[in-house]
């Protein structure tokens, strides 16, 4: 610790340094690696024993050598200085400014790994967030303190959807908005610019903190970045009483980096080469969303990931889905049909939806009407694939109505403009309009009183 520089590196492989003669390197301690040309790179102790420490370098090991490169223990684990001065600023994956502005000097130093929220201290998320997007508000409702990822695939407009959510998200009947913490993990500069411009145009930048690691930056920083973002978010939420929306994109790049390190450490690989502890590792990111009893702020997470090969059973979406409270799945088929946002509602889910909807938040008929939409759309889609074989003529009259319903559902309900902020009231009204295309007797999921109160069969077919 302190001022001792160890020039005892015995081995360098890829990103790992084996340093001999160190007696007391702490596990997970940060180290400073000084190269001959004066450059310094940060690293972290991965394995420590009496006599040897294995250090992982966060930067490239190009230029390092076993003779003159020196390693200094810093005596601390990874920390970030946080304060409200960070709002409106852009940082890199090590927490250093990348917008040309000054470093954050004042503030609290916090361990970026955070601590687990005591489940006993948590408060059940239940406040409805109106995003103005029918497929989310109506069918996969987001609530404050939830972690709801977007499962996308390459070439699909997930960034637009995330930006639209960030722009429109609000709490019903309240003027308070969200602060946004944005973590760009291994994204390219176009994507980075898209979000930056988007936030600047809407004015969101003033209440946003952005962390950017571009694809050309060291991949090790991708492991740190989401933790920086969440440490900042926790500070804003629990110390400054803000409601924070955290957008992390692209978690697939994060997992790739995790695999890269795991391979460098020569660990036993799990599925598709990803490390066996990836579930636990991801949970230390996603579980940092939530609400705490007695505290005002909250952290809502919308991580984005791209499913390799559009495969939802790939370990990255799979493990994510097991941790998060639902998922919004984007569909290539709908995208090809020109529908935006191309949300596949059948594969999507919000686990906390029930807490956020109903009489005292959205509307009493919400649950029932949405269940009915799901059932009807599922049936319509089934029939659609059936007609490909037997033709539409083989369907009964009732079934044809479902086919029509499925088409209308996609073009009227799912489909909306990038700038259209559709209120929940409007979404529900639209739902009833669409349901009036199927036989009233088939509507089994909604209570009779709500059908009478909100149903639109009479308007269409004349009084019964």
């Amino acid at each position: 610790m302190g001022d001792i520089y160890y020039k005892t590196i015995s081995q360098i492989t890829n990103v790992l340094l084996f340093v001999d003669g160190i007696k007391d390197a702490a596990y997970n301690e940060l180290v400073e690696i000084r190269l001959e040309d004066g450059r310094t790179v940060t690293g972290q102790v991965l394995d420590t024993r009496d006599g040897t420490a294995i250090v992982q370098s966060f930067g490239e090991t190009r230029g390092m050598n076993t003779g003159n490169t020196a390693v200094r223990l810093t005596g601390t684990t990874a920390k970030l200085k946080v304060s409200t001065d960070m709002l409106g600023r852009i940082f890199n994956g090590m927490g250093k400014p990348r917008d040309g502005g000054p470093e954050i000097v004042q503030g609290e130093e916090i361990d970026i790994n955070g601590s687990a929220i005591n489940p006993y201290s948590r408060e059940e998320p239940s406040e409805f967030i109106e995003t103005g997007i029918s497929t989310i508000d109506g069918m996969n409702t987001l609530v404050r303190g939830q972690k709801l990822p977007i499962f996308s695939a390459s070439g699909l407009p997930h960034n637009k959807l995330a930006a639209q959510i960030a722009r429109q998200a609000k709490i019903l009947n309240k003027s308070e908005g969200f602060s946004v913490v944005f973590g760009g993990i291994g994204i390219n500069s176009e994507e980075a610019n898209f979000f930056k411009t988007e936030f600047e145009e809407t004015g969101a930048i003033d209440r946003a903190v952005m962390f950017m690691n571009l694809s050309s930056d060291p991949s090790m920083e991708r492991i740190i970045l989401p933790r920086l973002a969440l440490t900042t978010a926790e500070y804003l939420a629990y110390k400054e009483d803000m409601h924070v929306l955290v957008i992390l994109t692209d978690m697939t790049n994060y997992c790739e980096a995790l695999r890269e390190i795991s391979a460098a450490r020569q660990e036993v690989p799990g599925r598709r080469g990803f490390p066996g502890y990836m579930y636990t590792d991801l949970s230390t990111i996603y579980e940092r969303a939530g609400k705490i009893r007695g505290r005002k702020g909250s952290i809502t997470q919308v991580p984005i990931l791209t499913m390799p090969g559009d495969d939802i059973t790939h370990p990255i979406p799979d493990l994510t889905g097991y941790i998060t409270e639902g998922q919004i799945v984007l569909s290539r088929e709908l995208y090809r049909k020109g529908i935006y946002p191309n949300v596949d509602v059948l594969l999507s889910l919000s686990r906390l939806m029930n807490q956020g909807i109903g009489k005292n938040s959205t509307r009493e008929d919400h649950r029932g009407v949405v269940d009915q939409l799901y059932a009807a759309y599922a049936k319509g889609k089934d029939l659609r694939s059936l007609t490909e074989i037997v033709g539409e003529e083989a369907l009964s009259q009732g079934d044809k109505a479902y086919l029509k319903f499925a088409d209308l559902f996609e073009s009227k309900f799912v489909n909306q403009d990038y700038y259209e902020d559709r209120s929940i009231e409007k979404t529900l009204e639209l739902s009833w309009e669409l349901l009036s295309n199927i036989d009233r007797n088939d509507v089994k999921r909604v209570k009779e009183e709500y059908i009478k109160k909100y149903g639109k069969w009479e308007e269409k077919n004349g009084p019964k």
Partner: protein, 584 residues
């Protein structure tokens, strides 16, 4: 007894200098005294799995052995509490370290200051054996805590008192045959990795009634039985586990959230105190013990949480209770095993899991059962484990090893879940090996025609899938009329019976009587349809009948109106003959 740390790699620490360490001794690691357990001994070095985050530990830091195995405290105060994986109460951790869990917190599992009102049920001079009940405490409104003679002790009670005691204060003395005096307090300790002994195991005869129709009627689990619930994410594993915890007719529920979401435990904590047990009307929390080791809490404690949970379950079983244990999810426990095994550089078996995975899973489920406990009465532990197979593919090792030992398989189906058919238990793939053992119970307690109805319903569902294959080829219109009736009845079974809304006040729980009446009504209407078709009525027209609407709404009819309602349906169904034939 203290040694020093030699090496640190994640949750695994290697230490030297400990005096005579034993396997599975609990140790305290570093200045912060993190809790750990010895899992390997080699040439004077002990390998320790640490139950807390090891960041900041250094080689040379001190390590101390407690000389004790990982044990749980057993005494009044367990029910209604929430613990972490190594039985630390989360409410006290909160009082100690705030909203976030800090490291090295040392809190007692149970309140040792609280006085409990104790009533002796044995007298001085009585001869007692191990496991015999000698005193009782009202632990909650639903659980009478029975204080038992410790395992391994028997003799004559030489002294016993009643009144207010803390769990540590001795209230009785037993003179053993060898003349030794054993002082007995309420508090006993038991190492979690060791099953508590029983007299003998009994055959399963009684179902665990859960109020969930697809479970009770189609794939029942016996009291003392084992069940596995594998399913991909979003298929409703957790909702099913919650429903079983809420409504099953066990005396006590032990719910372990093993490596799962924090908010799910919060949901139980907020909803259970407000929900009432359908049998007794008392708050559900008064019969529930929660163990929460969420996914972001240390991985080694996750491995221990399953054992902590089943030891508590066994303890209450020994009092003669029917206990149900829900573990969500055993896959996370297996992954914890894999992670530790990897750090130990053990030779991996399938998919990186250690070669002993199958044995560990089998050992765990073997601790379930309906038994004669040591004092001769009957108690049971039912174990229901959720499994989270990667990608929903159950050919993976955890699912396969679990299915080998459990006797009920509730196959959760992503396609059903996507269509919002809940509970998404697939009726064609699931099975219960208890169905035959329990048939007698159903016939005696529900109705003599039970087995007949059940078999008929299953046959119709089976037939539906066959007909559907034909529909794929020729279309619905080309089907014979009788097949259309079968499809219609199967649809009714699926939508009006198997589907059950956990979030609807009435539908969330169905008594066995209601389940029986519902199934009977559906099948009766089906029979009438079939008859009508024989008389030349087109099948399609029948789906619009009032009686069908009534059957569909039956699930929402409260228990107290269900008899009346089912009579109405029977009447309407009987009328189907006249009306139809007349119209023709």
């Amino acid at each position: 007894m203290s040694g020093f740390i030699y090496r640190i790699s994640g949750p695994v620490v290697i230490a030297g200098g400990l005096e005579n360490p034993n396997m599975y001794d609990v140790v305290r690691v570093g200045k912060e005294e993190l809790i750990g357990e010895i899992i390997k001994l080699e040439k004077g070095m002990a390998t320790v799995q640490v139950y807390e985050d090891t960041s900041g530990l250094r080689p040379g830091d001190i390590i101390k052995s407690t000389g004790m195995q990982l044990s749980v405290m057993l005494a009044p105060g367990l029910v209604g509490s929430i613990f972490d994986g190594i039985q630390r109460p989360l409410d006290k951790i909160r009082a100690e370290s705030g909203d976030f869990i800090a490291r090295g917190i040392n809190v007692e599992s149970l309140d040792t200051k609280k006085k409990w009102k104790l009533k002796a049920v044995q007298k001085k001079g009585a001869h007692v054996g191990q496991g015999d009940i000698i005193a009782e405490v009202e632990e909650t409104s639903l659980i009478k805590h029975k204080v038992m003679v410790p395992v391994g002790v028997s003799g004559t009670i030489s002294d016993i008192s009643e009144g207010e005691f803390t769990i540590e204060e001795p209230f009785a003395t037993i003179k053993t045959e060898s003349g030794k005096d054993v002082k007995v307090a309420m508090l006993q300790r038991w190492p979690v990795r060791m099953p508590r002994p029983v007299k003998d195991k009994l055959p399963m005869e009684v179902p665990l009634i859960t109020g969930q129709r697809v479970v009770d009627t189609m794939f029942p689990v016996a009291k003392g039985g084992t069940a596995a619930v594998p399913g991909p994410f979003g298929s409703g594993k957790t909702v099913i586990q919650h429903q079983l915890a809420k409504w099953s007719d066990a005396d006590l529920i032990v719910y372990v959230g093993c490596g799962e979401r924090g908010n799910e435990m919060t949901e139980i904590l907020t909803t259970f105190p407000e929900l009432n047990d359908p049998k007794t009307g008392k708050p559900l929390m008064d019969r529930t013990i929660l163990i929460a080791n969420t996914s972001n809490m240390p991985v080694a404690a996750r491995e221990a949480s399953i054992y902590t949970a089943i030891t508590l379950a066994e303890y209450y079983r020994d009092m003669g209770y029917d206990v149900a244990l829900m573990a969500d999810s055993t896959s996370r426990w297996a992954e914890a095993l894999r992670e530790i095994s990897g750090r130990l550089e053990e030779m991996p078996g399938e998919e990186g899991y250690p070669a002993y995975l199958g044995r560990k899973i089998a050992e765990f489920y073997e601790r379930a059962g309906r038994v004669h406990v040591l004092n001769g009465s009957i108690g049971s532990v039912t174990a229901i484990g959720a499994v989270s197979p990667p990608g929903g593919d159950i050919s993976e090792p955890v699912s396969q090893n679990t299915l080998r030992v459990t006797r009920v398989f509730w196959a959760l189906d992503a396609a059903l879940a996507n269509a919002r058919h809940f509970p998404s238990i697939n009726w064609l793939n699931s099975y219960s090996l208890y169905a035959d053992d329990l048939a007698k119970w159903y016939e005696v307690n529900i109705s003599p025609e039970w087995s007949g109805l059940y078999k008929k319903a299953m046959a119709i569902l089976q037939k539906e899938s066959e007909i559907n294959e034909i529909v794929q080829l020729v279309g619905y219109d080309a089907l014979p009329e009788q097949d259309k009736v079968t499809l219609d009845t199967a649809k009714s079974l699926r939508e009006d019976f198997l589907q059950q809304n956990a979030f609807d006040e009435v539908d969330t729980y169905s008594s066995m009587r209601k389940q029986y009446l519902m199934m009977k009504a559906i099948l009766q209407v089906g029979d009438e349809e079939s008859l009508a078709v024989d008389h030349g009525v087109p099948a399609e027209r029948m789906s619009k009948l009032e009686v069908k609407q009534k059957v569909a709404k039956m699930k929402f009819i409260p228990e107290e109106q269900i008899e009346e309602y089912s009579k109405d349906i029977a009447k309407l169904a009987a009328e189907m003959r006249n009306i139809k034939v007349a119209e023709e």
